[in-house]
């Protein structure tokens, strides 16, 4: 199944990736080549096979509900593009 240009635009929006109109034909073509490779999977009989999500099939380890970390806000905000008074700054979202 080949992707249309409009589907590529939708995927880019879902992934929050800006796309130039000029790049769209090439991006669409490359994605279709990759999906062509991936579609070879459909020929494999996987009836009744349980999906494998984790190679060792272990489940998530739980820890005791105790405070183990200290507040690192200043260290983490020191590497942010824009902060003020401990808050991350973004363009206005509520008028």
């Amino acid at each position: 199944m080949a992707l249309e240009r409009s589907e590529v635009e939708k995927i880019a929006h879902l992934a929050r990736l800006g796309l130039n109109d000029a790049d769209l034909p090439r991006t669409t073509e490359t994605l279709n080549t990759i999906l062509g490779l991936i579609d070879r999977m459909q020929a494999v009989d996987t009836q009744g096979i349980e999906p494998l999500a984790h190679p060792l099939e272990t489940s998530q380890r739980l820890r005791a509900d105790e405070v183990t970390e200290s507040n690192q806000r200043d260290a983490y905000q020191a590497i942010a593009p824009a902060v003020e008074e401990g808050l991350y700054l973004v363009p206005r979202v509520i008028e």
Partner: protein
Amino acid sequence: MHQLTLAGIARALAAKTFSAEELTRTLLTRIEQLDPQLNAFVTVTADQALEQARAADARRAAGENGPLLGAPIAHKDLFCTLGIRTSCGSKILDAFKAPYDATVVQRLADAGAVSLGKLNMDEFAMGSANESSYYGPVKNPWDLSRVPGGSSGGSAAAVAARLLPAATGTDTGGSIRQPAALTNLTGLKPTYGRVSRWGMIAYASSLDQGGPMARTAEDCALMLGAMAGFDPKDSTSVDQPLDDYLAALGKPLNGLRIGLPKEYFGEGLDARIADAVMAAVEELKKLGATVKDISLPNMQHAIPSYYVIAPAEASSNLSRFDGVRFGYRCENPVDLTDLYKRSRAEGFGDEVKRRIMVGTYALSAGYYDAYYIKAQQIRRLIKNDFVSAFEEVDVILGPTTPNLAWKLGEKNADPVSAYLEDIYTITANLAGIPGLSMPAGFVDGLPVGVQLLAPYFQESRLLNVAHQYQQVTEWHKQAPSGF
């Protein structure tokens, strides 16, 4: 001094032939002189390295004598390093200084290793040629017009060119083993969960695994001994005792059962590589190994399965790069959506965007079962193939790569052609088993790698086989001319 292995350096430092500081200065000079030809380093941390070296010398003067005390190494630039740029080969992290050290970085530092800097890589570890880095391609020291492999291409080039005896790498689909093969190194991808992923910037979390790259199996054993082990900070880290990797090296290979999968020797393999691999098999037979033909029938489905699972996990992992909390932010965003979209479009390179989009598509409503679930079902078939094979053999042996190192730019027009180069390495990541590549000869002056695969947590067996092979062969000792 620069020709010494980690083991040789440990002996020389213990014998006071030279100090860690002298060794560090020598290698920093070498990096300054030679790295411009290779582009292996993104960041050289000379001041911190000299400080670590002096600290190692002080520890030694106080009576310590660990095998990595004062040993020079460097890290692939996706291991977070406190206060030092961690770029992941991407513009989006060009100015990112991690607020903490990765567990692997911390453990090697605790063992006394001296880090000389951060090594170039494919952007977000996505690539097999080290050509997708924001910092430009890395060159193969065996032929500067060729790629070193990827994504740990900077690690491979630096160690092969004798700028360092060893480096860290990571392997999601072959990114330690394939560059090791193309540059005449020994590289080990451990069992999934053996080495902590904490502070290792994620590409595909169910496949990623850190490991050592060095010139000998013995040096990989030294590195792994320090890198591996349980880490409560990584929820997929395995709480299982470590083997004594060094002690296992000396075991004779009498009775070792080697499996040769017919799928590894079929169409697409350079016949000259096949000859070199079979010559290695003959050497191992002389050491007492027996050989059996086996089959891994689902190997052919590994690449399609991988190119769903890895991009799907990447699309999720890389959603954290939003231009808000860290990393690159675009100029003058008009609103929040514009901020996200342009920061990501301007910050990520083409290959990363392609994989994010493939993954987003595979996970989107209506396609999840046809792509993601199907890929995970194939993943189980691939694991089952290995489980069956290891009932009959102790290790599986084949070529690491189907082709020799290719020319820079040769596979850029068609990304899928480069994806196919990972055919022999990807299955170990999907199954989670350990794999090692070791030098096994040359074709037209370019290195050939042999890959060994073993059951879960049998890293010591892989290192043992490679070490015994390296006792009777000289391939791993060959250095590229000019370095």
